[in-house]
């Protein structure tokens, strides 16, 4: 099923229902969407509309209640736990709201960590990490630990880390929520440039207008449903 004519991401009638003490919570209710290869898209909507839940389901971090998700020709909703982890490692990059870098690793080690898990050799992963850090404007900061970097710089390291494994899809959950305007603009410029240069597909979840303005495809969610 992996052909260039098909969408990189296909979400087909996905439902996610949580059980809570107050009864079932219908976080995602029959969402379907397609994302083309090389897209720069955003899931938008108010807090609690199901953006993060859908993003987690697409990233294989959470199981769907029903429906199917295809990424690059693989139905990830049909994969077992171990296969899902393996798939995530090689095909999906993550950027989190709170950066989530490993504090005991320096910038290049944080970027190289995923490559180490993939079994890439030391020299190759070091070269690639330095190259990626340079492309996000952090040349010269390779040996600095997260605590020595600003929030914007940390998020740029996180972007470099997300791209380290050469993934088909980068999922970014509210990546600018903790950044000031200038850092947000810089980060968006970098991600857009990488999207163009490497053809990596980006999918954000956000309610930040600055991200919405830069996105080339918008998926509006409300109460777990697509509204536009």
């Amino acid at each position: 099923m992996s052909t260039s004519s098909q969408p990189l991401l296909r979400v087909d009638r996905v439902v996610k229902t949580y059980e809570s003490t107050a009864g079932p919570v219908h976080a995602v209710q029959g969402v379907s969407l397609d994302l083309e290869r090389g897209a720069f898209a955003a899931l938008v909507g108010p807090s609690g509309c199901g953006k993060t839940t859908l993003l987690n389901a697409i990233g294989g971090l959470d199981r769907v209640t029903s429906g199917q998700i295809w990424i690059d020709g693989t139905e990830i909703t049909a994969l077992g736990d171990r296969e899902t982890i393996e798939f995530r490692l090689h095909r999906i990059g993550f950027v989190f709201q709170a950066y989530n870098l490993v504090p005991v690793l320096n910038a290049w080690e944080n970027v190289a960590f995923v490559m180490e898990l993939q079994g890439v050799g030391v020299r190759d992963r070091r070269d690639r990490a330095f190259e990626l850090l340079s492309s996000v404007g952090l040349a010269g900061k390779e040996l600095q630990r997260p605590a020595q970097l600003s929030g914007g710089q940390q998020q740029r390291v996180a972007v470099a880390r997300a791209l380290a494994s050469r993934p088909s899809l980068v999922l970014a959950d509210e990546p600018t929520a903790n950044l000031d305007s200038k850092s947000t603009e810089t980060l968006l410029d970098i991600m857009h440039e990488l999207n163009r240069q490497e053809g990596t597909t980006f999918l954000f979840s956000t309610h930040d207008q600055r991200v919405i303005d830069r996105a080339e495809q918008l998926v509006h969610l409300e109460d777990g449903r697509i509204v536009g």
């Binding site: 959470d62 995530r88 490692l89 989530n100 190289a112 180490e116």
Partner: protein, 412 residues
């Protein structure tokens, strides 16, 4: 180096104080354990050395039947050939012949069962230190020498006459009158209470029932000898075993065969010391386990993120195990080094324990103890640390395995 191991090592130092306390405690525990091992080995080595010098000797030539049943008739054959062989061997420092009898000693109205060691005083004092501990008179060449305890028990003193009654080789009862010529201070009350020295030259003819063919050196149960270098004892004994062409039932035995309890004590001590060390380390393992549980709890969010980006559960397990092992091992080299240095210093200066001189003397020990270096225990200690580190990592690692990436990343 593997990034996972580097990460594990750096993670330890995220809470320098907390990890420092664990590392320090481990160093202290290992130091205490090693030092106690050295001290115990020192006590044991001193006890063994004192026993060899006082009453066991380094080795002996005797008749195998005498070893089996202590019968008075089981005399050593061709003692003059053995004596010549001992004289000729360069590794032998001195030797001393003995007749060993069980007898009854009577002094006035009092009597006591005794073990008589009939010896040549001069030769005996070259092999054993016991004859040098004569506190009154001397180790007699004509009279009998009693232990302090026995002298007190019998009410006998220097110059008093005592009667020794024993069975000769023909099974006939002999009585010999001796004067008390010396009183010795023995290695223990037990020895002092039963062991007496008599002159070999006077007793040997009596033992043979007055047989004129057997005189002096002819009646011998044992020849004890002392070697110049105890480390080469086995080689010396092996050479002596072939020194007499037709040894008959004569055998040459090392101190380990003469007094197996002494060498058993070495083995028992080795096991006990390792057990002692294991108890110390077992207690420490709980501290390590607690530290690791706290570390996992604090890093729940980070571990969730790592699992989200592709760290498998197997690698999460491995990360926690590495971290625990490194934490366990961090203090061990320091503890070993401190223990080694402490023993190296105190083995020269000695450690004097005040107020227990008499108690120690009962075991043939001086009040100053010289610890002995114990490098042979370092590897077993390292293995113990590894095993206990591994065991204490299992519970925290299991906790980490149960983390769910999404729920973990929600933890603040």
């Amino acid at each position: 180096m593997n990034l996972l191991i580097q990460m594990a090592w750096r993670n330890i130092w995220r809470s320098p104080w907390r990890s420092g306390v664990v590392v320090g405690a481990m160093a202290l525990g290992v130091w205490a354990g090693v030092f106690m091992m050295g001290l115990a080995q020192g006590v044991n080595a001193a006890r063994t050395a004192a026993a060899l010098d006082d009453y066991v000797g380094h080795a002996q030539v005797t008749d195998s039947n005498f070893v089996a049943n202590q019968e008075v008739q089981a005399l050593l054959g061709q003692p003059e050939l053995w004596a010549a062989a001992l004289d000729a061997h360069p590794g032998v420092e001195a030797w001393s012949e003995r007749v060993v009898l069980t007898a009854v000693l009577q002094a006035g109205a009092a009597s006591a069962p005794v073990q008589v060691l009939a010896v040549d005083p001069e030769r005996e004092s070259r092999v054993f230190t016991a004859p040098r501990h004569v506190v009154e008179g001397r180790l007699g060449s004509e009279g009998i020498t009693l232990g302090q305890k026995l002298a007190e028990q019998l009410g006998a003193g220097l110059g008093d006459r005592v009667v020794l009654t024993f069975q000769d080789v023909r099974g006939e009862i002999h009585t010999v009158l001796f004067a008390v010529e010396g009183v010795y201070d023995g290695v223990s009350n037990l020895v002092e209470g039963v062991q007496v020295y008599a002159p070999l030259a006077a007793l040997a003819p009596e033992l043979m029932g007055g047989d004129s063919l057997v005189q002096g050196r002819g009646a011998v149960h044992q020849i004890h000898f002392r070697v110049r270098n105890l480390d080469s004892l086995d080689a010396t004994v092996a050479e002596l075993r072939g020194a007499v062409a037709q040894p008959g039932s004569a055998i040459v035995r090392t101190w380990r065969e003469i007094s197996p309890d002494l060498s058993y004590a070495d083995e028992v001590l080795a096991q006990s010391l390792l057990l002692f060390m294991a108890v110390i380390l077992f207690a420490m393992a709980f501290g390590i386990l607690n530290t690791m549980l706290m570390a996992i709890l604090e890093r729940t969010r980070e571990l969730g993120m790592l699992m989200a980006i592709g760290l498998t559960r197997r690698k999460v397990f491995r990360l926690v195990v590495w971290e625990t092992l490194l934490l366990s091992f961090a203090g061990m080299p320091l503890g070993l080094l401190l223990g080694h240095v402490t023993i190296a210093v105190t083995s020269r200066t000695g450690i004097t324990i005040e107020g227990v001189d008499k108690g120690l003397a009962e075991f043939g020990l001086q009040s100053t103890i010289y610890p002995v270096s114990v490098p042979e225990y370092y590897l077993p200690i390292a293995v113990l640390v590894a095993v206990l580190g591994l065991l204490s990592s299992l519970y925290p690692a299991r906790k980490a395995l149960k983390l769910n990436p999404i729920e973990s990343m929600r933890v603040l």
